[in-house]
Every structure is written in structure tokens, then in C-alpha cells.
Symmetry: D2
Subunit: 297 residues, 4 copies
């Protein structure tokens, strides 16, 4: 059974200790099993205390980041690429220290609209670097999950099939795909077909609506998504992600172009998402059983 997580920016973009702990309490109250944080700086956050609180609440934790322009490991500028490696290593350490096992997000390039078409050299640099970082992650008991995002947020990996080829080039068994229905809706030929195609390598999944608001109020066929996840036997983490101009993170809100106020009451949003995912997964399971039942006389 998948753990159902939620991205912390549903609750708050603040990294003040009190806000982070309220985020954990809200996550639990809304019925989720896992919290996904962005990077948290140990210089400002008491990581040990946060880890303890996560454990006490019996929550899972994952960390997702998007590399910054000055930390793009696909860059030909060695200082920039080295900065990216440093960020990845800090994120791996943070994940381990919080008790998590997954680093997710945009790891292969910087996050944001790129000014140039992707190149083979860029691909090779990123893959070569990730091969090494994957070893560091493995030693820390953490997997790397490469988020496949839409064209406006990265130029390199926009589809699961590109991600599979990239992972094959990397050659590490510690790197997986982080799929996200919001991005898949823009880039994939079909969400269900893409999930089936990438079945063996999916390590993390974001459940987000086409406009990033309430689940079911957009264009994504979640029944087909849950059917495909059920068909491939996916039982790893599924996290709900939603952004609204209600909660602004200076960095992320601009890169992801969050201009509209799609919700104001985040607890209402989160509870709805939790129910939506629960009944969606249950219904997909029942459908799969029905499709293979011979109704023995």
C-alpha cells in the first residue's frame, strides 16, 4: 500500500521551526502518511528536533528540490556544476538526518525556463555527475528520484521515456523517476501509457491537478492514472502537490508561475485530496479485481 504524502507548501512556505512543526501536525490531522519538504537549512532549522517530531507522529518524509541556476550540474561551467553537487550532497544528508529515504525534484538541470535547447553534452555532463552522486546517496540510504517536468521548468527531461534513457546512461541502480501528473499532462502522450512504460523505474509520484488546484477540478484523468499505477503494482509513495497564490515561496512561485488563488483554505484542500486519493485508489483496486475475476460458477 502506498503511503500518501503532501507537499509542505500546501501548509506554509516558511521554514521557521514553529511553522515546520505546525506543518507536521496539519499533515497528520489531514490524514496523510508523509510530508514532503523542500530543502531546509540546518543552520536555521533544528533538524534533530524536526526528525524526532516526524518520528513521533509516525510520518514519512521526503525532500524535493530544484537545482538553482548557479547550481546546475548540467552546466559546462565547472564552478556552477560543482555547486550543484554540493547542494545535492547537502540534500542527501538532510534527507537521511530527517529519517527519509528519498530525494526528489529537478536534479538533472536547474529549475526554470531555460534559454537554450538541450544538448548531448549537457545530457552527458548531468548523467556523469549523477552517477557519482548516486553513490553518495546510496551510502546514506537514500535514492535519487529525478522529477520529469514540463518544458517551461527544464529543457532536459520532459518525459518518462527520456528519463528512462537518462537513467540507463547513468548506469546506477540508485536512481529512479519522480513522475508528476501535472507535468505529465503537458508532456506525455498519455499518463497511463507512460506509467506502464516506465513501470520498473518509478520511485516517487506527485499527484497534482492540471492547474495545480483541487484534485478532480481539472483535466487529468485520475481514474486512468490510478488504474495504471495499480496495473504496474506501484506501492511506493504518492504525494499530493498543489500551489496557490495564497502561499508564496519567493523562489518556487515564480519559477512555477503561480498567479491565481486556486484555494484559500488549505485544510479543506488537503482533506479533499486525501479523500479523493483514497477512494480513487480503492476504486482502482476493485476495478482491477473485477477485470480479472472469472466469477466462478
Amino acid at each position: 500500500m502506498s503511503r500518501i504524502g503532501i507537499h509542505s507548501f500546501v501548509w506554509s512556505a516558511s521554514s521557521a521551526q514553529g511553522d515546520l512543526e505546525r506543518t507536521l501536525a496539519n499533515t497528520k490531522e489531514a490524514g496523510f502518511d508523509l510530508i514532503e519538504f523542500s530543502y531546509l537549512d540546518p543552520a536555521n532549522v533544528d533538524i534533530g528536533r524536526l526528525a524526532k517530531r516526524i518520528a513521533e507522529l509516525d510520518l514519512g518524509v521526503a525532500i524535493s528540490i530544484g537545482l538553482p541556476a548557479d547550481g546546475d550540474i548540467s552546466s559546462a561551467d565547472k564552478a556552477i556544476a560543482a555547486h550543484g553537487v554540493e547542494i545535492l550532497k547537502r540534500t542527501i544528508a538532510l534527507t537521511r538526518d530527517l529519517g527519509g529515504q528519498k530525494v526528489a525534484g529537478i536534479l538533472s538541470t536547474s529549475h526554470g525556463l531555460q534559454a537554450q535547447a538541450p544538448t548531448r553534452d549537457q545530457w552527458n555532463r548531468s548523467a556523469g555527475t549523477l552517477a557519482k552522486v548516486a553513490e553518495t546517496a546510496k551510502a546514506a540510504g537514500v535514492t535519487l528520484n529525478l522529477e520529469i517536468v514540463n518544458r517551461f521548468e527544464s529543457n532536459l527531461l520532459n518525459t518518462a521515456a527520456q528519463g528512462l534513457a537518462f537513467i540507463e546512461d547513468i548506469g546506477s541502480d540508485n536512481i529512479f523517476l519522480h513522475l508528476d501528473t501535472f507535468h505529465m499532462n503537458i508532456e506525455e502522450a498519455d499518463i497511463g501509457l507512460a506509467i506502464r512504460h516506465a513501470a520498473d523505474k518509478i520511485g516517487y509520484v506527485h499527484i497534482g491537478e492540471s492547474h495545480r488546484g483541487f484534485l478532480g477540478t481539472g483535466n487529468i484523468d485520475f481514474a486512468a492514472t490510478f488504474d495504471a499505477l495499480t496495473a504496474i503494482g506501484y506501492s511506493d509513495d504518492l504525494s499530493f502537490e498543489s500551489f496557490s497564490s495564497e502561499i508564496v515561496d519567493e523562489n518556487l512561485s515564480k519559477k512555477t508561475a503561480i498567479w491565481r488563488n486556486l484555494w484559500t483554505d488549505n485544510m479543506e484542500l488537503a482533506r479533499h485530496a486525501r479523500r479523493f486519493i483514497a477512494i480513487g485508489l480503492e476504486t482502482a483496486r476493485r476495478k482491477a479485481e473485477l477485470v480479472s475475476s472469472s466469477h466462478q460458477l
Copy 2:
């Protein structure tokens, strides 16, 4: 590449020689590769001449039937069951004589609304009989394709999964499933999932709309259907079936409850279906290629 067929009742329910030959000409004119006939009585039809015309037009041919109440091989009444076997054997011979390789339709029970729930004994009788008939068919170079139909037209095999269990019980390698989207829309949990589940045993497919009229004007998700057929590599025959009160077959129209005039111009209907299936299959193929393309830089 699948051959695209059409059921002869789109053109005419008559079995006068001239009408049958006009049906072949219409089939060719509308761009189809195969004609599906109901049973034709060699006492009234010049089968050799029809076979020659089929060959001249480079058409494929399939025969589909529904066993009558007095020829139900699942019946406990031995005379009725024996009559059913005789009908099946005549149909196999007709198929062979016309140059076809497939017998399709409702072969496991009689066709029509049954008055009783199915029983294990009924299942066993039908399976045992079909095991033997399958040998006769094999010797004639013909496969048996068991149509999975909705609850109002048979009580025994309403889903592909039931059909798979039935074929396994029969134990013959000459028996396959004849799936039909009209019936699947009523009985299956999901058309695409059912096609994937039954992948290895699908021998014939009917493409029909939910109300049996123009393709695309009903509730069936044909894109998902073509995606699933593409995903399993199905390359065998696909036939278009449609019924309207415009063309009445005394027997079939009542069993299938054809009350509405869903079309009057059958050539227009057929050409639309041919284009609809063609672009549907082409689009599914392109989608499958896209979903697995790594877009190598």
C-alpha cells in the same frame, strides 16, 4: 496490420445471391478488407460463386452466428445440444468453403435473453462440447472465436475474464475470444484493461458503438480501445458492426432489440466507420511510438 472488416447487415439482411454480391461490392467500395456474414445456407446460396467473388475482390471473410434456442450446446437436453453441434459443424464448413479462417459469435449458449441464471453444469456441457468441435474446426483450418456478449444476450460468458477461464477449461488451442466493444461497454470494468488482461487469447474484435450506431457518437472510449489493442500488439481482424431499424433481420433484430433508426444511409455510415477506425489506429500507433521515444539528442 489488422484487416478492417464490416458486418454484412450494414448492407443487407437478405441472402439472395444478388444481394450478397452487392454486399461484397459495397464492402470493397467503402474501403473494407473483410466481410462478416451470418450463416448462409448452401441450399439457397451458391457458395462457390460467392467464394470466387470474395477472392476476386481480395476480401477476407468471417462467419458469425448465434446459436438458436433449439441448438444450445449448453442445454441439458441432448437433442438440443446435438442440434447445436450440427449447426457449428455446418458453420465451420461454410467458413472454410468461403475461404475464411474464423467462426465467431455466440457459440457457447443460445443467443437471447435467458430465463435462468447460469450453472456450473451448463458451463461444463458447453466447454466439453466445444473441445470436440474445436478439433473439427482445426481440421478445417478454422478457429472458433467465442463472442463475449452482454447479459441480455447470453447468461454464460459476459466478460473476457470469464471467457479466459472457459477457454482454459476447454483446453483447446483452437479457441479464442471474440470481443465486441458494444458488449464490453456494458459488462467489462474497463475496455482497455480487459483487452490487456485477455491479450493472448483475442482472436476477433467487433468495433461497435454503445448504441450500435455511428462510431464516435456514443459512450465508448475508442482512443483507449485502440491504445490497448496497440499495446498488446493485436494485428488480427477488427470488424465494424452497426444495427439500425433500417435493416431488419427477423431473428437478430429482436434478440438484439433494434428499435431505433440510427442511420438510413449505410454507405455514409460505412465510409465514416472506415475513416474513424483508420485514423484511430494510426493515432494510437503514433501515440505508442511517442510514449516510448527517448528523443535522443
Copy 3:
């Protein structure tokens, strides 16, 4: 806000007083607002006591029937038609006595597979009779809601558009359509378009899956259904209907060809349906708000 009902045959096909009262308790326990019963014979059931229990539980009640072959008001046989009128009048009285306001179901013809195509005379006889019965109903404070069913269960009214024309011919303002997603999936060009087309005359709605089992495990696009109901401002009753061979009604199970055991635990089924409909309606409402929100700056 629609009241959410449930058909009593989810709970039991028995009309023993204790079973009927357990049905009410189950209905309440599973979170429904309304119970839909088939006809109950006041000779065998203590209607006053049942009505009291319904009121105590703050439940709504509706009665649905299918006219029998010997009570077909569309028949040219006057005795048969007269019997039909008598059944309708008894049903109206029962509905009133239970505290209900709606008679629903197959009222325009007998229920079951017909042997003949519909005729204009049949249509006229049925319409003429219903015009009179509608007056009786009106006097009792009860509306007649004509169920639009699939071709295998009646030959006269298979689509909402046919129903609208029929109501116009009847000329009464006390007759409405009873739409049912199970039947619409077979007969309508599109469930959402049909709901929009019939908007003004929809009096009762059945929410049932394409195979009559768990909601969401079949082919019906319930999101589109709820969107259409929201778009037309439908706020009247919506009842969940499901049949399984687990609960057999001698009459109804055969006419509706219930051969498969689609569920065994009816409380689980009912609770799932209640949650499915609740989140479906809530999500449709949020979607409608979003589609018309100008996101004022």
C-alpha cells in the same frame, strides 16, 4: 442540494416487515437520505408503521416499479391496460401513504424484453393513459417519473429525447423523466449532453455503474455526469442503484439479467457509493465555480 438515496435491493429483496425496517436502518447507517422501494403490498406490509419509521429516521422515500406484461398500459388489450392503470394508482397511493412524492420506474410499457418493435399506436395509448394517471398522481401530491431504460427492458422510451417528446405529447405538468446512468450508457449519445438536453424535465436520477456494481469500477464517466447535473442546477433526488446475484428478486433479477456476483458485502458497497457520490458532487461544484471565476485581482 440533492438528497442521496439508495435502492432497497442493495439491502434486501424481502418485503417482510422486519427486513424492510432493517433496510431503513441500514440506509441511515450508510449515510443516505432517501430509500427507494419497489412496490409494497399493503396487504402484507404495515404501511403506517413503515411510514412512521421513515419519518423518525428523517429519510425520504420514493417508489419505483416496472409494469408487468399483464399490466402494460401501452397494450392494445384493454384488460391488460386497465390492470396497468390499477397498478399505477395503487403505487401512487402507496407513495403518498409512505410520505413520498415520487413514483419512478418503467411506467410507459411493461418491463422486459419486448417481442415487437414499438408502434405509434402503442405510444399514443400509453401517453393518453398517463395523461389521466398524472392527474390522479397530482391529487395525491405525487409526480410520475418515467424511467428511460435500455432496449432490452422496454421498446418505447430508450432515450431522454424520446422521453421529452413523450411528455410533450402527454401534455401534463406532473410527469418528468427518471434518468439512469446504467441505461444512458447503453442508449444515449452522451450522458452529459442528454442531461443538458432534458434539463427542465428531469425529476429523478439513478446513479448506477455500467455493469451495475461498485461505482467507478465501470465505464461510466461520472465526473462528466456530475458536471452536467451541476451545470443544469439539478438539486432533486439522486439514488444509487446496484444489483448483484447476491440478492435475488425473482421478478427483477431475470428481467434485468443479473447473473454475476458483483458484490457480497452490501454495507461496504453502500458506504463506498455514498462517499463516491459525495466527493463527486463536491468536486463538480468546485469545478463549476472555478470555470466561472474571474480571479479578480
Copy 4:
């Protein structure tokens, strides 16, 4: 009946006279009724000759642009805003001179990822300016059609509902919405509901797939889109738009982040789109007829 157009960048991003004329010939050869060009500079293109060729081929023409950053009419910088007005006026003149009646595209702000959230002042400046430009357009026999685009390409008008409020604020009867399925898939709650909501004000429609490649190979429900356009009686222009890294426009390819080679053979793409739209519109029309047909006996 809608004219079916095609964006010229399917054929070529060049504005050399010979390439433009080949684009017209290709457009005609692939069966389209209208060509959509980006802005063409009369200093470099013989507009009179192009207009004559368009007329000879009996093609319609539309011009779409995206305002540049230094011509953003929503800017508080008066020189920038004035430059935008000048661009709009030149585009109106070009459209008129080519024999067209529609200016389309991103007219309310600059095209591209914005760095700031939208503001009321920005909205007011843009609306006020467009009110005046609309008069100029009207005098030229040209309408302005504001393209509603995704969040990464403009911050002001991302949904049809925002566009309606904006047009109401402008107060001109010469301004309409330019809807595009690619963008709607990202921003709207539902494409069909949004089309219905904006029915009266839709002046131009782009038919594009979710990934901007072959129609039908992505996530957009075109059947629902064509149903909604049919339901509102839309009979104005519909243009196919698709981008691939095969054909690069220095400016547009980067703003729209075209990194993948989704097609190489543009004639194959265009012919497929033409067939896809034709059978889609025909099927939607047949479905609408069916949904309202009473099948008079």
C-alpha cells in the same frame, strides 16, 4: 461551418517571399481553408503579392502575434506601452492588407514567462489601451482576439473566465477571446465547460495537442471539445497549431520552450490534423443530432 486553418510555422518560420508562397501552396494542398501567419514586415515581404496569392487560392488569413517585452501594453513604462500600441496598429494594418479579419494572439501583455504576479494596475492599463486599439481595428474591419495562454507565457489572462471579465472591463464590442486547447489543458477546470461559459465571446480557436504534436496523441479530449463547440453553435475559424524542434523560430521557439522533435514530416502532420478535425467535427454534429432526436415513430 468553421473554416479550418493552420499555423504557418507548421510549414516554415521563414518570411522569405518564396517560403511564404510555398506555405500557401502547402496549406491548400493539405486541405486547409485558412493560413495563420505571425507578423510579416512589409519592408521585407511583398504584402500585395501575398494577398493576391491568398485570394487566388481562396484561402482565409489571420495574423497572430505575441507582444514583445519592449512592447508590453500592460507596462507602467509609457514608452514600452506606446511601442506595443504601434505594434498592434501595424498588425491590424497588415491583417487588413492581406484580406484578413482577425488579429489573434497574446495582445494584453508581452509574451513569455513574467517575473511578477499580475496586478490590478497592469490589468487596467492593458484594458484601457485595448479599448482604444479596438476602435482602430474596427475601422479596419478587423477584430482583436485575445489569446488566453498558460501561466508560463503570460501572467494576466490564463482562463476564459478571466478573459470575459477583461473584455467586460474593456467595454468594446470588437474584442473577442482566442481560445487554444493546448493552453486550456493547463489552465481551465474543463475545456468543454470553459467553452460553454465563454460561448458568446469566442472569436478564434486554436486546436493544438497537449504536447503540441500530432492531434490525438496527447491528453486533450477533443471529442468533448468538438461537442462543446457544436453545443454553442461555434461556426467561426478553427486553426491547427503544432510546434516541433524541426522548425525553429528564434523568438517563438524559446518562449514556448520547444525542445523536442515531435514530427519531421510536416505534410504528414498537416494532413493527419485535417482528417482528425474533419471527422471530429462531423462526429460531434452527428452526436448532437442524435442527442436531440426523438426518433419519431
